[in-house]
C-alpha cells in the first residue's frame, strides 16, 4: 500500500506540489488526470526518488516503509516501477545486459543467486511477446533508435521482467497510435495480479477505457481537487478541467 500525506515539493525552489494526500491500496488502479504543468510528473518522479525534486513537507510510505529515505534503486527493489514519459536512450548498453543487471540486483537483495543464462533468455523471450517486441530486442542498445511506440512497449516489457507490485504509468499513452496503445494497455492488463496496484497518469480517456481504474483523481495546480469513480474521466472528456478549477 502506498500512502502519501500532505506532500509538498519543489524543483529549483519553485513549489509544484502543494499538499497531496493519496492512498493506493493493494489491488487498486488509480488514475491521475490534470492539465499540463499541474504536477503529475513531479509526483511520479518524487515517488521513484528523482534527485532533481525536493520534498519540503509531508511523507510517503510504501508498505510501512519511509519511501523518501530510500535510494531510487532500493525503492525499485521494494517493488516500485515507473514507466517513463520519456524513456532514456543508453547507447552501448544492450537490453540484455541492462535487464540482467536489473534483475540480478533485485535477486541479490532477495538473497538469490544471479539468474542462470538459459533461464534469463527464456524469460526475455516470454516477456517480450507480451508487448509484441521482436527477437532483435535483446541486442539493441536500451531505447536507442527505438520508435516512440517501441519505447513505450519497451517500458511495459521491463515492467513484465521486473514484476513490480506498484507501477506508475506516466503518460504511457502519449505518442501512441491506436494499435500500439492497445498492445501497451493489454500488456499491462496481462501483468496485473490481485495484489498489484498502479497509478496511471494520462490526459485521455482512451487508455482508461482499457485499464478500468477504480479511482480517478483530478490534479490542478499542485493539489488534488476532485476524487471519484470511473465517471470522472467522462466528465473531463466532456467538460474539460475548467469545471474542477471552479470547484477548487
Amino acid at each position: 500500500m502506498l500512502e502519501i500525506k500532505d506532500l509538498h515539493a519543489s524543483i529549483n525552489g519553485k513549489e509544484i506540489l502543494k499538499g497531496i494526500d493519496l492512498t493506493v491500496r493493494d489491488g487498486e488502479v488509480h488514475a491521475l488526470m490534470g492539465q499540463n504543468g499541474a504536477g503529475k510528473s513531479t509526483l511520479s518522479n518524487i515517488i521513484v526518488g528523482h534527485p532533481a525534486y525536493e520534498v519540503t513537507e509531508g511523507s510517503i510510505t510504501f508498505n510501512g516503509q519511509n519511501l523518501l529515505a530510500m535510494a531510487p534503486e532500493d525503492r525499485a527493489h521494494a517493488g516500485i516501477f515507473l514507466s517513463f514519459q520519456q524513456p532514456v536512450e543508453i547507447p552501448g548498453v544492450s537490453m540484455n545486459n541492462f535487464m540482467r543487471a536489473a534483475l540480478n540486483a533485485k535477486r541479490k537483495v532477495q538473497g538469490q543467486d544471479p539468474i542462470p543464462a538459459t533461464e534469463f533468455l527464456k524469460l526475455m523471450r516470454e516477456r517480450r511477446k507480451i508487448v509484441e517486441l521482436d527477437n532483435k530486442l535483446a541486442n539493441r542498445s536500451v531505447n536507442e533508435g527505438f520508435s516512440g511506440g517501441e519505447k513505450k512497449r519497451n517500458e511495459i516489457f521491463q515492467m513484465a521482467m521486473l514484476e513490480p507490485t506498484f507501477a506508475i504509468l506516466d503518460e504511457t499513452d502519449s505518442g501512441l497510435d491506436v494499435d500500439a496503445l492497445r498492445i501497451v494497455a493489454e500488456g499491462f492488463n496481462k501483468l496485473r495480479k490481485p495484489e498489484t496496484s498502479a497509478l496511471v497518469i494520462t490526459h485521455y480517456q482512451r487508455l482508461l477505457d482499457y485499464l478500468q481504474p477504480d479511482i480517478i483523481h483530478v490534479l490542478i495546480n499542485g493539489r488534488i481537487v476532485h476524487t471519484g469513480g470511473p465517471e470522472v474521466a467522462t466528465l473531463i472528456e466532456q467538460g474539460g478541467f475548467d469545471q474542477f478549477i471552479k470547484e477548487s
Binding site: P72, R75, V88, I90, G92, V93, N97, F98, A105, V142
Partner: protein, 447 residues
C-alpha cells in the same frame, strides 16, 4: 640542461661499454645522436607536440641502467600467465630491452619470418636492418629519439618477407624487471614486406615494485599491398613511465591498424606518426584509455597524407576517474596534391570526476582542395538521466556508472579485429571499471 646533464655525462663515461654490449649497426648513429641530444635536450612543454607532458621531470630521478647487459634472473613463463587466453599466438618475451631467447614458441614460423633480438639481427642479417634502422625515427629533431638512439643496445626485430602471411598473431610481452629503479631504452623494428600480412600484439608489464622508465622507439615499414594489425596493451603500474615513439611508413595499397589500449599505468606518453607514402593506402588508428588515481596518459598522433587516394580513420576514447590526466592531440596533415583523401578523426572523453582533467586537440591541416575530412572532439560526464533510469530499474549507482563507462569504451574495443583479444579486452576493461583489477592479472607478483 640540468636533467640532461646526468645522461650526457653517463654517455661520455660509458660510451665504450654501451657499444661493447650492442651491435655495430646500432653503434654507428650513437655519436650523432649524442650531439643531437646535447643540442636539443629533452623536449619541453613549450614545444607543440609535448605540451601536455613534462618529460624532463620524468627523467630527473636517478635510474639505474643495465649497460653492461648483466642478465637479470627471470623466467617469464613463471612470472607471466598469459592475460589473453584462447588466443593462440606465437608468444615471445622481451625482458627490459633484451629479447628472451631461452624458450621460444614450439610452432615454427613460415619460412623466412624472423622474430628475434634486434642486436642479433643487426649482426646476422645486416642487409635487412641497415636500410631501415634509424631511417624513420630521426634524432635530429627529437630529444627522446636522440636519447634512445644513444643508449639503446637491443630490442626486437620482426621481419615478414614478401607475400608471406602470418596466420597466427605474434604476441610480444615486454616485461620490466629489476631490483632497483631502472631505465630501459628499447628499440623495435618491424618490416612487413610487399604483399605480406601480420598481426602483432604487444603487452607491456612491469613486474617489480620499482620505479621504471622505458623509452621505446619503434620503426614500422609496411610495404606495398601489405597488411599489418598492431595492438599495444599497457598493463603496468603507477610507478611506471612509458615514452613510446612509433613511426609507421605505409606504401601503396597497404593497410595498417594500430590499436593502443592503456588499462594501467603511471605516466604514459605515446607518440604515433604514420606516413602514407603510397596511393590507396589505409590507416585505422584506435585508442582506449582507462585511467584513475594520478595516472597520466598522453597520446600524440600524426597522420601524414603525402599522396592522393588514401584513407585514415582515428578514434580515441578516454575514461578518466580520480585525479587522472588525459591528453589527446591528433594532427591529420593532407599535403598539397593529396587529392581524394578521406580522413575522419574523433576523440571522445568521459570525465567522471571533477578532479580529473582532459586536454584534447584534434587538428586538421589541409593543403589539397578535393578531400573529405572531418574531425571532432567531445568531453562529457556520465549521463545523469541514464543513471537515474537505471537506478529506477534497481541497478545500484556504482553498477550503473560502470555500465555507462563500459558502454562508452566499448566502441573502441569493438574495433579490434582479433576476436579472442576483443572478448578478452571487454572482460579486462569491465573488471577494470569494477575496480577488481587494480594491477595486471598476468603477473604473479602483482597478486
Amino acid at each position: 640542461m640540468s636533467v640532461e646533464k646526468q645522461y650526457i655525462e653517463l654517455y661520455e663515461q660509458c660510451r665504450a661499454m654501451v657499444n661493447e654490449h650492442s651491435a655495430a649497426l646500432l653503434n654507428e648513429p650513437r655519436d650523432k645522436a649524442y650531439e643531437d641530444f646535447c643540442r636539443l635536450g629533452f623536449p619541453t612543454q613549450k614545444q607543440e607536440r609535448y605540451k601536455y607532458t613534462n618529460v624532463a621531470e620524468a627523467f630527473a630521478p636517478d635510474y639505474g641502467l643495465n649497460l653492461r647487459h648483466i642478465e637479470i634472473p627471470v623466467n617469464p613463463y613463471e612470472v607471466f600467465r598469459c592475460d589473453v587466453p584462447n588466443l593462440s599466438t606465437s608468444l615471445y618475451f622481451v625482458v627490459n630491452d633484451r629479447f628472451y631467447d631461452k624458450v621460444l614458441p614450439k610452432v615454427s614460423l613460415p619460412e623466412g619470418v624472423l622474430v628475434m633480438s634486434l642486436a642479433e639481427a643487426a649482426k646476422d642479417h645486416p642487409e635487412l636492418v641497415a636500410g631501415h634502422y634509424g631511417r624513420l625515427a630521426r634524432s635530429r629533431k627529437d630529444g627522446l629519439n636522440a636519447l634512445n638512439t644513444m643508449f639503446c643496445q637491443d630490442g626486437l626485430f620482426i621481419y615478414v618477407p614478401r607475400h608471406t602471411v602470418l596466420e597466427r598473431p605474434l604476441q610480444i610481452i615486454n616485461i620490466l624487471r629489476a631490483d632497483v629503479d631502472l631505465m630501459v631504452n628499447r628499440r623495435v623494428l618491424i618490416v612487413v614486406e610487399e604483399g605480406a600480412e601480420a598481426k602483432v600484439l604487444f603487452c607491456d608489464h612491469a613486474i617489480d615494485d620499482h620505479q621504471f622508465l622505458a623509452t621505446q622507439v619503434s620503426e614500422v615499414y609496411v610495404g606495398e599491398n601489405a597488411h599489418l594489425e598492431l595492438y599495444e596493451l599497457e598493463e603496468t603500474h603507477v610507478k611506471n613511465h612509458r615514452f613510446s615513439n612509433m613511426y609507421v611508413d605505409q606504401q601503396r595499397s597497404s593497410t595498417t591498424t594500430i590499436d593502443s589500449i592503456t588499462l594501467h599505468n603511471g605516466l604514459t606518453r605515446n607518440r604515433t606518426d604514420v606516413t602514407l607514402n603510397g596511393e590507396y593506402a589505409e590507416t585505422r588508428m584506435f585508442g582506449c584509455v582507462v585511467a584513475d588515481k594520478q595516472q597520466h596518459v598522453d597520446n600524440n598522433t600524426l597522420i601524414d597524407h603525402r599522396v592522393p587516394n588514401c584513407q585514415s580513420t582515428e578514434l580515441y576514447k578516454y575514461v578518466l576517474d580520480g585525479e587522472a590526466v588525459g591528453a589527446f592531440a591528433g594532427r591529420v596533415l593532407v599535403r598539397e596534391g593529396a587529392q581524394k583523401t578521406t580522413s575522419q578523426e574523433t576523440n571522445a572523453n568521459l570525465v567522471a570526476t571533477d578532479t580529473a582533467h582532459m586536454y584534447t586537440q584534434p587538428m586538421l591541416e589541409i593543403y589539397a582542395d578535393d578531400v573529405k575530412c572531418s574531425h571532432g572532439s567531445t568531453i562529457g560526464q556520465l549521463n545523469e538521466q541514464a543513471l537515474f533510469y537505471m537506478r529506477q530499474r534497481g541497478i545500484p549507482l556504482d553498477e550503473a556508472r560502470m555500465l555507462l563507462k563500459f558502454a562508452f569504451a566499448g566502441e573502441v574495443l569493438d574495433s579490434i579485429c582479433l576476436e579472442p583479444l576483443r572478448d578478452r579486452l571487454h572482460y579486462l576493461v569491465e573488471k577494470r571499471f569494477r575496480g577488481e583489477l587494480s594491477k595486471c592479472e598476468g603477473c604473479k607478483l602483482c597478486k
